[in-house]
């Protein structure tokens, strides 16, 4: 299996551990990744709210590049994945197709056929590969709260591989890894990612509710698959602690990191030394 790998803006910067762990875990599982050549930003949740056509063209450009490489596009970031999948769907709709292709042709990109698929790393890990036979070091005793957020599985017509309102893919992966999964009721509530900068207080409030619930369930960490969720839950965790005068110290880990650990990889190899909220309590619990 080979994919064009679309890291997006975050995986080369604030979510480097997601980039590193995705690459080493995929390699270990025999999946080849070839970075999408000359990729650009997908426009996130913001661009289409300024101009629909501009937002769609930004995301469609990467789909076109993947088509040129003739490889299915694999994205780790939920936002990049979602927007790319949405663009692919639009490129197949007659009413939208011409509008988007006209802009791309101005960019000097001409592709007529779009027969590739857009995949998310969680989708591939849970649906294409059986990792259960590869577990070398079960994560026995580790309590995890799996957080899906919004764009990973919603809306169903562009994702479709897990429930949009009650997803279980990461819960299943965590269980296969030997971890205990807590019943995280807020797992698909929004963290407020796209409004973090412009409506900071509101976003902090939404994120705090997630941290509160995970903590009250006794989770050792939150497991997720989106760099923007991580920005809120991990990078802004100290700010939220300060604002509400609380203390969480709750490690936030990417699903690929815990899978990597269960596959027997060293934390350093997975990039786990790059976290802002230290994952040491998690590693200590696993005797690492």
């Amino acid at each position: 299996m080979k994919y064009s790998y679309y890291p997006g803006c975050s995986l080369h910067t604030t979510a480097k551990e997601f980039d590193i762990s995705t690459q080493v875990v995929m390699e270990e599982l025999g999946i080849e990744l070839e970075e999408l050549k000359d990729w650009s930003c997908c426009g996130g949740s913001v661009a289409a709210g300024v101009s629909h056509d501009v937002g769609m063209a930004m995301a469609a450009r990467n789909v076109a590049l993947a088509q040129k490489q003739d490889l299915d596009l694999l994205a780790s970031c939920s936002g990049c994945y979602n927007k790319s999948a949405r663009a692919l769907k639009a490129l197949k709709e007659p009413t939208e197709k011409d509008r988007i292709m006209a802009i791309m042709s101005e960019m000097g990109i001409d592709v007529s056929d779009y027969n590739i698929r857009i995949r998310n790393v969680v989708d591939v890990l849970v649906n294409d590969i059986d990792i259960s036979s590869r577990i070398k070091r079960p994560l026995t005793g580790l309590k995890v709260a799996c957080y899906y957020g919004c764009l990973l599985t919603r809306p169903a017509d562009i994702t479709g591989w897990d429930s949009p309102v009650f997803p279980t893919s990461m819960d299943r992966l965590s269980e296969i890894c030997g971890a205990e999964v807590v019943d995280f009721r807020s797992k698909t509530k929004c963290c407020g990612g796209p409004i973090l900068v412009s409506q900071q207080d509101v976003a902090f409030d939404l994120t705090k509710k997630l941290l509160d619930e995970a903590k009250s369930l006794g989770a050792d960490c939150i497991v997720l698959a989106c760099p923007l969720c991580d920005t809120n839950l991990e990078l802004r965790q100290p700010d939220i602690e300060k604002k509400y005068n609380v203390s969480y110290n709750l490690p936030i880990l990417y699903i690929t990191e815990i899978i990597g650990l269960a596959l027997g990889m060293k934390p350093g190899k997975l990039g786990m030394n790059k976290h802002i909220v230290s994952p040491k309590p998690v590693l200590a619990k696993l005797g690492l």
């Binding site: 930003c41 709210g49 809306p155 412009s198």
Partner: protein
């Protein structure tokens, strides 16, 4: 001549959507033209499922359900001035749950774009515009630049601690990344935006 009171099924009030003469399809058409057919506004039956699931409804002055109703009725001023547009984090809960195939998040997204073009200004519109402008510039976002343009010096100072931590972890480059031909990319998007 005294007008006879209209009869309404299931006790629906006069100003609800079954009272067809209050509808204004011009506004619906405008939103669909911006956001595409996904915004199936006419199908809304006002069940309120979208509002029931909304993550952020307690911060909104107008629920997603009301916003759809106001769009149907052509209450454009109310829709454009509503803070619901900017409190929506595009999480698609409403869209996933709608039993009628209406896509409130797509409607809101389209209305946001129209609102910006009609001159509505606030922190969110400013942020969104700067974000798009910076992506257009190099094809890849450079976050420190986004913070500086949006929040000025104060934002840089507020974010300095996190910025230093990220830099020490090798998670923030002092230099922006860019695509091979940002000029053509930028010009194509600029042209599309002006259409």
């Amino acid at each position: 001549m005294a007008t006879k009171a209209k009869k309404f099924v299931f006790g629906l009030k006069a100003d609800r959507q079954l009272d067809g003469d209050k509808m204004n399809s011009d506004f619906v058409k405008k939103v669909v033209a911006e956001g595409g057919n996904g915004a199936a506004i006419a199908a809304c039956m006002q069940c309120g499922t979208c509002s029931g699931g909304c993550t952020n409804i307690d911060q909104m002055d107008m629920s997603p359900r009301t916003l759809i109703l106001m769009t149907q009725r052509g209450e454009w001023e109310k829709v454009l001035k509503s803070n619901a547009l900017w409190m929506c984090s595009s999480c698609y809960i409403c869209t996933s749950r709608c039993p009628r195939g209406v896509r409130p998040s797509d409607v809101i997204e389209a209305v946001k774009a129209i609102a910006i073009r009609e001159g509505i200004e606030n922190n969110s519109t400013r942020f969104n515009q700067i974000f798009v402008e910076l992506v257009q510039k190099r094809g890849i976002l450079f976050e420190p630049e986004l913070m500086q343009k949006y929040g000025g010096l104060q934002a840089m100072i507020d974010q300095a601690e996190l910025g230093i931590k990220l830099t020490l972890k090798g998670k923030m480059s002092p230099f922006p990344a860019k695509i091979k031909d940002p000029k053509t990319f930028s010009e194509a998007l600029e042209k599309a935006e002006q259409k």
